[in-house]
């Protein structure tokens, strides 16, 4: 039973002026699978190490359950940090591969046996305990590696990009395995990744960091449907959300020559322009001069539907995006696979009014 709480937790590395983790506030429920996601350098690993007791906390506190662990050493925290790389040892049996870290921790033999057997049952490895790893399939080897972490039965699992070195197929397999395993074990887990797809598919909730600052913490669905700001909107979702600066009018905003009605109250104080966001699947495409004029550059056929990548005809309209991606970013629309426009064709697009996102152009905050 353990909740985890980052309470205004801050870390400034010696020699740096700005915090790498800046007043982080996260409440993690007992048994929850929380994913920390963000671009490289956003402070994910630092936050994880702070929780593990491996990184000094310069401000705020960290709680595990009802214990303030801010000043406790790693071994007094009952957390298990799962290494990025798990080697399997060829001369050792599967049982020893799973249990050896407990031996290092000084756990007695009987207890190790019991924990290894329990873990093997959960992982469906009981029949293989006395074999050598060579005799196992790729997926089974991966499960042995997971077994190494499970047998430690900590209050909290900490995982830092554990899948980053796997090939694409095994990565997807293992992703689901870890997530379902975590749910069965019910152990609170903090999982770090830079990959938003991984975050979306694995987490009960996602905490998105940028430059050490928490941008939003929400369920994957909420994060996708109601991104709190432009950064979240650009980061979550693939292909990414289209973000276009448009003028504010009396009744709403103008998207090309298409008027989108938006209650005045929502746009109050937003200035003369706002950013409208629309996900590729929420783009309405017409050929009758209604909406923003786009010239089709590329069409990517996926069978049932297709993605159209295009550029606004009006060169003054550029697409906003997270970070460096903004330059030359195409407008992306998902269309019916049976009715795809041709390359070079002009199409007109506007957002489905039920799935429109509006952001303050200056602050980037979500409006409404």
């Amino acid at each position: 039973m353990a909740t985890v709480k980052f309470d205004n937790s801050t870390r400034i590395y010696p020699g740096n002026d700005t915090p790498s983790v800046d007043k982080l506030n996260i409440d993690i429920a007992d048994g929850e699978f929380l994913v920390l996601v963000g671009p490289s350098g956003s402070g994910k690993s630092t936050a994880l190490r702070m929780l593990a007791g491996l990184e000094e906390v310069n401000g705020g506190k960290i709680w595990i359950g009802d214990r303030d662990v801010t000043d406790l050493s790693p071994k007094d925290r009952d957390v298990a940090m799962v290494f990025q790389n798990y080697a399997l040892y060829p001369h050792m049996t599967v049982a020893d591969n799973m249990g050896f870290a407990l031996k290092i921790a000084g756990v007695d033999k009987g207890e190790i046996r019991k924990r290894v057997e329990d873990a093997a049952k959960i992982l469906d490895l009981t029949a293989y305990l006395q074999r050598k790893p060579k005799a196992l399939s790729g997926g089974q080897r991966q499960r042995v590696a997971m077994g190494r972490a499970i047998v430690r039965s900590p209050q909290v699992f900490l995982m830092d990009e554990p899948l980053s070195n796997l090939d694409a197929k095994l990565r997807v397999q293992t992703r689901t395995q870890i997530a379902s395993l975590q749910r069965r074990l019910g152990v609170t887990t903090v999982y770090v990744t830079h990959d938003q797809v991984e975050a979306m598919t694995m987490g009960d909730r996602i905490a998105l960091l940028n430059f050490g600052v928490l941008q939003q913490i929400a369920t994957p669905r909420e994060m996708y449907d109601r991104p709190a700001n432009l950064f979240v909107a650009g980061f979550i979702g693939s292909p990414a959300m289209n973000l276009v600066a448009v003028p504010v009018t009396a009744s709403g905003v103008k998207f090309g020559n298409h008027v989108l009605e938006i209650p005045r109250s929502e746009l109050a104080g937003a200035g003369s322009q706002v950013i409208v966001g629309v996900r590729p699947e929420d783009v309405e495409v017409t050929s009758n001069n209604d909406g923003l004029e786009i010239i089709v550059d590329v069409v990517e056929e996926l069978g049932a539907d297709a993605y159209v990548y295009g550029t606004p005809s009006d060169p003054s309209i550029t697409l906003e995006g997270a970070g460096d991606d903004a330059l030359g970013k195409p407008f992306i629309a998902r269309v019916d696979g049976r009715r795809v426009p041709a390359k070079g064709e002009k199409i007109y697009v506007y957002p489905n009014p039920d799935h429109i996102h509006v952001f303050n152009k200056e602050t980037g905050e979500r409006l409404g």
């Binding site: 990025q84 790389n85 049996t93 095994l170």
Partner: protein, 415 residues
């Protein structure tokens, strides 16, 4: 798709390798059968334009990152393998995409720890490997490199007189910062301890460990050695104002450990009675740099110590204590070291490097002298060594035929 090759030293021979074949299936005639550590990726040694390179099949983004990191480590003059190229955009004959390859230059005379343990060994080898790894880890940390996967498998060892010198071989998980926090260093140590214990237990399970101590105890040594060395190198020290000689003493102590001091920060306390000194990071290779300066010989730290000692004996024996050090060094190379190197029979050159052989020769001479209870001329010791000892040594330029294990991380169908 076209092959995409990144390298700082293009070599047309690179294009002749069969990039359209998965690395695991490359024909034997291309390969050099050298031992490797445990790895999850497929790694093969390949002959390329007269030298041997290591080819690792790995995802393109990770390959590029590792290539770049290794280049940065080399720029910082840290001991690691030399990155040579990244080959991406590979496709099989039927058009299936293949993973990229990272190519590094095979480190000559390097020994993976598993190969070391399969040779008959002096007692205490595990300990000496760990001591070498501790030095490597301290050096990496001093320059701000967090390794993330410290292990014996990810380290290569070269003989260095009676000890070993360690080199980083796998930088896949590494990060380079301006400096590291204590937490980052402790994290690496924790990883090191668990990995080393696992690796030694594995050797034990395979009956390869002839060590008297148990793996866990040995693995804990990395933490102790690391902390002792880190403290000696960076720890502040308080010195009474009248004891300035202690400052010099500190510098000499660091030199003895093989490190050079760049600068010392000295802060005097308010009433001026004590001075706190903290060495500013220091560079290792004190003796090897000194030997290089004196003789132009480029060898490892402990080998350099050994050669410098012999140089000192030569100076004493020839009664030239008052002569310029450089002149004496020049004569020592001309009269002792160079003739020795020339006298190594060609077929034996692959056995050990000259500086290592010279160290062994000095050891052998000492052993003969002790047995005979009088001095033995170097020529006599050499003849005895050549006849009796050297032929029994395995080739170490490229050790062959030890057990090598790969645990590929591939999405094989589940049984």
């Amino acid at each position: 798709m076209a092959l995409e090759i990144t390298t700082s030293a293009p070599d047309a021979a690179l294009l002749d390798l069969p990039w359209h074949i998965p690395l695991a299936e490359w024909p034997d005639d291309l390969l050099a059968a050298l031992p490797r550590g445990i790895s999850r990726h497929v790694v093969r040694f390949v002959r390329l334009s007269g030298r041997v390179v290591a080819v690792k099949e790995i995802k393109a983004d990770i390959a590029r990152r590792e290539y770049q990191l290794l280049r940065n480590l080399r720029r910082l003059e840290l001991p690691c393998v030399e990155p040579y190229a990244v080959v991406a955009g590979r496709e099989s004959a039927t058009g299936e995409p293949l993973d990229a390859c990272l190519i590094t230059v095979h480190l000559p005379f390097s020994l993976p720890y598993r190969a070391l343990f399969s040779q008959s060994l002096r007692k205490g080898t595990a300990i000496r490997l760990i001591d070498a790894l501790a030095v490597l880890l301290v050096r990496l940390h001093l320059d701000g490199f967090w390794w993330g996967d410290v292990s014996l498998s990810n380290t290569l060892f070269r003989r260095d007189a009676g000890a070993f010198a360690a080199y980083l071989v796998d930088a896949e998980t590494g990060e380079l910062h301006a400096g590291l926090s204590r937490g980052q260093r402790e994290h690496d140590l924790d990883i090191a301890r668990v990995n080393i214990a696992g690796e030694l237990m594995d050797l034990e399970a395979g009956g390869l460990l002839q060590e008297e101590r148990d793996p866990i105890e040995v693995s804990e040594r990395i933490v102790e050695r690391y902390h002792a060395l880190w403290e000696a190198l960076t720890g502040p020290e308080r010195v009474a104002a009248g004891e300035r000689w202690r400052v010099d003493e500190r510098i000499r102590r660091l030199n003895r450990l093989g490190f050079d001091v760049d600068e010392l920060t000295m802060t005097t306390d308010i009433d001026g009675t004590t001075v706190t000194i903290a060495p500013k990071v220091v560079d290792s290779g004190h003796h090897s740099r000194r030997l290089l300066r004196l003789t132009g010989l480029d060898v490892r730290e402990n080998q350099a110590r050994r050669l410098l000692n012999d140089l000192d004996s030569y100076r004493a024996a020839t009664d030239r204590g008052a002569d310029d050090e450089e002149l004496v060094a020049h004569d020592w190379v001309e009269q002792i070291y160079a003739p020795f190197v020339r006298s190594i029979p060609a077929p034996l050159r692959a056995k050990l490097e000259p500086a290592q052989l010279f160290h062994e020769l000095l050891e052998h001479r000492w052993y003969l002298a002790e047995r005979a209870q009088h001095d033995i001329p170097i020529g006599e010791a050499w003849a005895d060594y050549l006849a009796k000892i050297l032929p029994t040594k395995p080739d170490e330029r490229a050790v062959v035929g030890t057990d090598t294990v790969e645990m590929p991380v591939l999405a094989l169908p589940d049984a």
